[in-house]
């Protein structure tokens, strides 16, 4: 589904990603871990098409197409979804109001008929249950005055509505108490299928107790320095990132 090869990216002349290669197949969950400043969020943003990041080298192939040539909205319409680490507050735009337009623009792109108000509401009610989110929240200005947990649940709600092929969760656990974490993880797990894939970007192992990954990669200074299975995450939890850093120093 996704094939990243030797990806280099920078922001304002400052290199952040220094040659990332990663292959993600349908049905898989990959966790990207790493210390602060290692480039985790940059990778997520680059895949979603954030314009501040410039790709200087390498390629990203998604469903057989060149992902890097697509605008953010084309990526979304092709099934890429980014759950934001810091969801944006937009006064005057409600979740319901923009989701209806977004979903219908995606449906038209896929050659499907737009949903009418009744069908949209039905779908919405169904997805609301998944993340235990209240409709009054979705009628309000997007994320304005929402708690940390409410913002993240709203992200997963949108993910459920848009049914992406490739979901990228950027530090979805940050700002979540344990109850909210369970709800969010439950939502993500319910959406997993053999046809879609998930990349979970996280600093801590905690989230991976709930969203169990097939593969774990450690990002450091813009490169994947270690890959493994779930056990790698547990080992990191125990030994901390210094262990990886020390390991790398010895290897040199």
């Amino acid at each position: 589904m996704l094939k990243i090869q030797n990806l280099h990216a920078q922001i304002e002349e400052k290199p952040i990603l220094n040659g990332i290669s990663l292959t993600v197949n349908a049905g898989e969950v990959h966790a990207i871990m790493g210390p602060n400043g290692s480039g985790k969020s940059t990778l997520a943003a680059t895949l979603a098409g954030r314009e501040e990041y410039t790709v200087t080298q390498g390629s990203v192939e998604y469903m057989g197409k060149n992902l890097l040539e697509m605008t953010p909205e084309e990526r979304a319409r092709e099934g890429v979804f980014l759950a934001f680490q810091y969801p944006v507050e937009i006064p005057g735009v409600s979740t319901i109001n923009f989701m209806k337009t977004a979903l219908n623009q995606i449906r038209v792109h896929r050659g499907e008929a737009p949903l009418d108000a009744v069908a949209f509401l039905k779908l919405m009610k169904e997805k609301m249950k998944l993340v235990e989110i209240d409709q009054s929240l979705l009628n309000r200005s997007l994320n304005e005055g929402f708690s940390g947990g409410e913002k993240k649940r709203n992200e997963i709600f949108q993910m459920a509505m848009l049914e992406p092929r490739l979901s990228i969760l950027d530090e979805t656990d940050s700002g979540l108490d344990i109850d909210a974490l369970r709800i969010v993880a439950h939502g993500v797990n319910a959406l997993r299928s053999k046809n879609n894939a998930t990349i979970v970007v996280t600093h801590y192992q905690r989230l991976l107790d709930y969203i169990v990954p097939d593969f774990v990669h450690v990002l450091y200074k813009g490169r994947i320095v270690k890959s493994g299975t779930r056990e790698l995450a547990l080992e990191l939890e125990e030994k901390g990132y210094d262990w990886i850093k020390a390991d790398l120093a010895t290897a040199r």
Binding site: E51, E73, A76, N97, T101
Partner: protein, 417 residues
């Protein structure tokens, strides 16, 4: 030097027209014209018109020929979905034939222009000197007028027109009236609409004044609007500017009583090389009243806007609450805004605040919406509409608000569903 010569030309054109039309026989008009001539037309040095080159906008095709009223305006279409009492000006001249009242309690009379000057603004003086007649609309005490009163300015000539519509509206105590002001014009007809209105709001009276400026692209409009409020009255003034080459609004509210509640909301969407200038004055003369003002603008292309908000709190006006906010979005490098809050407070026990902001469209928000699949234009239109629609809180009538919102949406982004 060149500008000075042109200015003289425009001034002498006006002076000649005044004489030719025999307007100098009338004391009130003569008084206005004399004062106007003494003051001259505003230039870049005039404090109140520093950023607003009205003379330059006018001098290219100005003729002071007396406007003729068309016998059959082809496009007196109705902008609003609800039935309205109509007061119609065609090319600046009041048209009794087209002014049809639905509510028998409203009385319209016509009289010769009076001798009391409403303002020393040069354009107000010009209107006083040149207006065809004084149209007075009267609403008796203790009547709620159900259908809005639509004051329509129609322009149906392809040639330049110097129009001076003028009306006064007296709303009796304990009454309620909604006034809708708008323009109907061919999309590129050039005209100078130099309008003057004066609304007297009685005690315990409610006024809703919704002014929608969407006339021709080549319009020069000076909108002098004076509202005088008595005790315990309430006013909602909305000024939405969607079109026009140069638009200047002088909206003045005299808070001349106690327990008054005044709301001023405005929106200006300025593109191309247009200029929209809002000068507002809220003059608190008596204690225990409040005013609340919110103006917002979106500028694109070479569009320019000016906001000047004066709040006066006179020595007697203790316990006044007065708030003002002006917020702007600049979409292009070449667009700009001159914003100036001007609070002058002589009373010591008051609550007053003001604030102004100018920024660009929020790039984070734009990326967020696009990352959900929204086309860039749709996302942009949605954000701008969210920004603009906050001003609609200033229109109490739901149906009018919905229609104004639709016009704003069409202007900001024609394809939002």
């Amino acid at each position: 030097m060149e500008a000075a010569t042109d200015k003289k030309n425009l001034l002498s054109l006006l002076a000649e027209a005044f004489d030719q039309r025999g307007l100098d026989h009338h004391a009130g008009r003569r008084k206005a014209m004399e004062l106007f001539s003494a003051k001259g037309l505003p230039t870049a040095k005039s404090e109140e018109y520093r950023f607003t080159p009205i003379v330059r906008a006018l001098e290219s095709n100005f003729t002071a020929i007396a406007p003729t009223k068309s016998t059959t305006p082809q496009f007196l279409e109705h902008l609003w979905s609800m039935p309205c009492n109509l007061v119609v000006f065609i090319n600046g001249v009041y048209s009794a034939t087209h002014s049809i009242l639905l509510d028998p309690h409203i009385k319209i009379t016509r009289a010769e222009i009076g001798t009391t000057l409403l303002s020393e603004d040069p354009f107000a003086l010009l209107n006083h000197a040149f207006a065809e007649t004084e149209v007075t609309i009267e609403v008796p005490p203790h009547h709620t007028i159900e259908q809005p009163l639509a004051v329509v300015y129609c322009f149906d000539q392809p040639s330049f027109i110097f129009a001076n519509p003028r009306w006064t509206c007296r709303i009796g105590a304990g009454s309620k009236l909604s006034v809708l002001e708008y323009t109907l014009a061919e999309s590129s007809s050039p005209y100078f609409n130099n309008k003057q209105s004066f609304i007297e709001v009685g005690e315990h009276t409610i006024l809703e004044l919704t002014t929608l400026q969407q006339g021709s692209k080549d319009e020069v409009l000076v909108n002098n609007s004076l509202v005088n409020m008595a005790s315990s009255s309430r006013a909602y003034c909305y000024t939405g500017t969607l079109e026009g080459k140069l638009v200047r609004n002088n909206l003045t509210l005299l808070i001349d009583g106690e327990g008054i509640d005044a709301h001023l909301h405005g929106l200006y969407l300025v593109g191309g090389s247009s200029l929209v200038d809002n000068h507002t004055v809220v003059d608190h003369r008596k204690p225990n009243s409040q005013s609340n003002e919110l103006y917002k603008g979106v500028m694109d292309g070479n569009g320019k806007a000016v906001f000047n908000g004066k709040i006066f709190v006179r020595p007697d006006a203790q316990k006044t609450n007065a708030f003002q906010s002006n917020r702007n979005i600049l979409l292009s490098e070449a667009s700009n805004i001159h914003t100036k809050p001007q609070l002058e407070i002589w009373a010591d026990d008051v609550k007053c605040s003001h604030g102004c902001t100018t920024g660009q469209l929020d790039e984070e928000a734009l990326f967020y919406l696009r990352s959900r699949g929204l086309a860039k234009d749709t996302a942009k239109g949605m954000l701008l509409n969210a920004f603009a629609s906050e001003t609609l809180e200033g229109i109490p009538n739901e149906s009018i608000r919905a229609q104004v919102n639709q016009l704003i949406q069409n202007k900001l982004h024609p394809t939002i569903e």
